[in-house]
Symmetry: C2
């Protein structure tokens, strides 16, 4: 017990330092004066170094050995916490310090150069930067794989979606990849025969956008005594579970993107706020990876908010907020506006139906890259043929093709699949919630989200990192990730 307690003490402090960094990162994006970046950089670097040293101190290996040897003295949550501490420890210690430092440096340089090269559509100039990053990521993945007894790609994946393996993803994504092209073609055909949605004409001043956003957040259960809403260039949900800092931006010409953006971030926020208070500042008290985090934001945005039930409740509030009226402000028109489908080149602008194709392409390519089966010089061709196969379009440039995302220049391999895994988990959770709460639709029409929140709180939020990601889903819904439920969601929405 003694060794376990000592580990708890180390990780509690580690968590508090990471929390400090998280608050400072929020400040960076919302409050920091434009020329204060150098001071902030020093603060974040020191926090990161000290946190890293805390976890890599030599005595931890011994503490883990002792704690594991007497793990029968621990209860279930403590055992899960020990497992999560060990997982974090592996990720911090498996890679030699010189390699970590070389990778950090290479990613920093590559990301900086990428910004320029993308603007200039110069893949050739960018090639050596991305090659260097990939080579170091491969090395790092191999070191983690060895320590954690996983394949190199799965070791990367484990950083973002613990417990999920590429063997699980392959089947699911292959099934989706087979489904999507024909499905998308049918949706486009169907929508082409329907009248185009009416446009919502602005301007939409920021103050009522903000007031409406806050009203919705509060309605959904966001606790403003433990969180805030501010503005930033790129919306995000930051802070810590006890102090959630959500941001958005207000585009006066485009009200809907801001509105659904707030709904998306609120899903993240409610997850953080609902994490088990008893385990705050311990690894088992953290959210269960990026796929589950994205499932919560997409459940709030795609499953809840983009629905006729929800819009029946929300459109009167929208009309009031801007003092507007007219047929374009009907639930049906707004629903139609935000469910238009059209294959496009850029992932971040993609609609719900084509988004998974973007992700599957990236997943397949990065898996091959990590396995040494695809080299960077062959990436543009592989990208073009993948886009053609999955979406039936071919990019006009590498800037709008394989150079469009920051992830690879930044060394974040293994992250992309979590977007679509999150969307699928969201659909599966919503399927279970609807079974558990048969009159959910009529509750939502009235703006009553209490039973929805209660289900998510009980089955997901309060579970922290008690289970692996696949086990959490099974615990909550009774089954493994099932692509049939996601396909059903897409079919119901777009072809019914």
């Amino acid at each position: 017990m003694q060794a376990y307690r000592e580990l708890e003490t180390v990780f509690r402090r580690h968590s508090a330092l990471r929390a400090s960094a998280s608050m400072l990162q929020w400040d960076n994006s919302t409050m920091m004066p434009e020329n204060s970046g150098d001071a902030r950089g020093e603060q974040l670097a020191a926090l990161s170094e000290v946190s890293h040293e805390m976890i890599t101190q030599p005595r931890l290996a011994d503490l883990f050995a002792k704690a594991e040897a007497s793990s029968n003295e621990l209860d279930e949550w403590q055992r899960a916490n020990l497992r999560e501490m060990k997982r974090a420890w592996h990720h911090e210690t498996a890679v030699p310090a010189e390699l970590v430092s070389a990778l950090t440096k290479a990613c920093h340089e590559s990301e900086l150069f990428w910004r320029k090269a993308r603007k200039e559509n110069n893949f050739k100039a960018f090639l050596p930067y991305q090659e260097k990053v990939l080579s170091l990521v491969r090395e790092s993945a191999q070191a983690k794989a060895l320590a954690m007894n996983l394949t190199p790609y799965d070791a990367l994946l484990d950083q973002y979606d613990p417990g999920t393996t590429s063997a699980m993803i392959d089947g699911i994504f292959d099934d989706l990849a087979a489904f999507l092209p024909d499905f998308i073609a049918k949706v486009i055909d169907k929508q082409s025969k329907e009248p185009a949605p009416l446009e919502l004409r602005g301007p939409f001043p920021a103050p009522p956008q903000k007031a409406l956003g806050k009203t919705m957040m509060q309605k959904l259960g966001f606790d403003f005594t433990r969180g805030r809403l501010d503005e930033s260039a790129h919306p995000f949900c930051g802070g810590v579970p006890g102090d959630v800092r959500l941001t958005t931006r207000y585009n006066e010409d485009d009200f809907l993107s801001g509105f659904f953006g707030v709904m998306h971030e609120t899903g993240h926020a409610l997850y953080e706020m609902g994490l088990p208070a008893k385990w705050r500042n311990q690894p088992v008290g953290d959210a269960r990876g990026m796929a589950f985090h994205e499932s919560q934001s997409l459940l709030s945005e795609m499953q809840l908010s983009i629905s006729l039930d929800f819009l029946a409740y929300a459109t009167p509030l929208m009309r009031n907020a801007f003092n507007v009226s007219g047929p374009e402000w009907s639930p049906e028109n707004i629903y139609a506006s935000v469910t238009r489908v059209k294959p496009s080149l850029i992932r971040v602008d993609a609609d719900e139906a084509t988004y998974p194709a973007h992700v599957i392409l990236r997943y397949r390519l990065e898996k091959q890259m990590i396995a040494g089966k695809l080299e960077i010089k062959d990436l543009p061709d592989a990208w073009r043929s993948g886009m053609q196969q999955l979406l039936g379009i071919t990019p006009d440039s590498d800037a709008n093709g394989c150079m469009q995302d920051v992830h690879w220049p930044d060394g974040a391999f293994g992250y992309f699949p979590t977007y679509t895994l999150g969307a699928m988990i969201a659909a599966q959770l919503m399927d279970s919630i609807k079974k558990a709460v048969p009159n959910l639709g009529s509750q939502i029409c009235k703006g009553d989200f209490s039973q929805l929140s209660e289900w998510l709180g009980k089955n997901i939020h309060s579970q922290g990192s008690r289970f692996s990601s696949p086990d959490l889903l099974k615990h909550a819904t009774g089954k493994n990730l099932d692509s049939a439920l996601y396909k059903k969601h897409l079919q119901n929405r777009y072809l019914a």
Copy 2:
């Protein structure tokens, strides 16, 4: 050189962690949601523990010995930095960890209980808390005294005004104490024969107060690309030199207190912004203690802003800001409004002329307490007789007497004198500036503060902690702290 460089590395990281804490403390007071205090408490505790451990690691003693042995290899600034690192190290290591922890706990409990006891005017109930704090502060002061070869009180003073000793203060404060009662009586007599200043009638809405405050800050040289102005219940200047976070509050009934409050805090801010960039994150790059910091805020507030020259420039801006007119908005009337003198019980509400008497009383009492010559049970009597002697009034209660300040309940002995030392330094600096810039008054009338700022930047701000506090004053003004200059300032202002 190697040992010195290693020390620089440790202290650079130490400074970055303290900077992180400083930013989070600003957030506490300005942005943090009301129930997020527990999360913040964990963050600040972890930062404080890690910073403390960083400085108290055993290898530092050896590094200091080596660096000092080869200090002839260092240049002047490096030697000063080594001295300041050693000073910080003494303050962190001289007191045994158990005593630090006991003192922290006692202060926390005492401060909490004090809030209640002060409200209820219950000195008797508070007595044991304050006794415990004093006893631990005495012990801690003795430990520091031994390590730093100072008297116990001077060891406490060194935390706030490095290099100043009670032997220096005694003479100066005795001189002031002899001067003040008669001076105050004369001022009151003189003012009683003059017409009362006209009242400035509000309300003064917050937005123009804020706009005017920002204009003045900018005029004085506050760089809004490296700093912000926000609101908090208790105004302060926080953040770090590269990211200064100034706060104020807007009272719609009382414009002047907010206005001069901003001028006060801007003095602090300009000091931080002007510290030597080359030595940022090293002890020698820090501001030279609390007395000098207060000298900068009081120079801005009491020497610069409360002057007919400055008000000749500022009153038209005030009239414009609120779109008002009338004789009450003349420079002369505003000057008269903020220079009224009247002995009162509460230090924080005291005017410029009576404030030093409050400080001298506290200084004398705390010096006796640390020396073991005054016990807490005898404090109320000693307070009453001191107030009578220095200000000719006697408190109606302990709540308005010896229990009014948070400093002693919080264990901050040795801090009080810096308020009046700061006021005196400000007067002495202004005396030198006026000699160096003969037409300063006419520059100020025109809102041109460039030569004032330049002098302060060159002689004070950019000097960081290169010198001890007394040496810095001597370097800047050519002489030791001279109470004659402060008395001259008071006489010129109040009796001329």
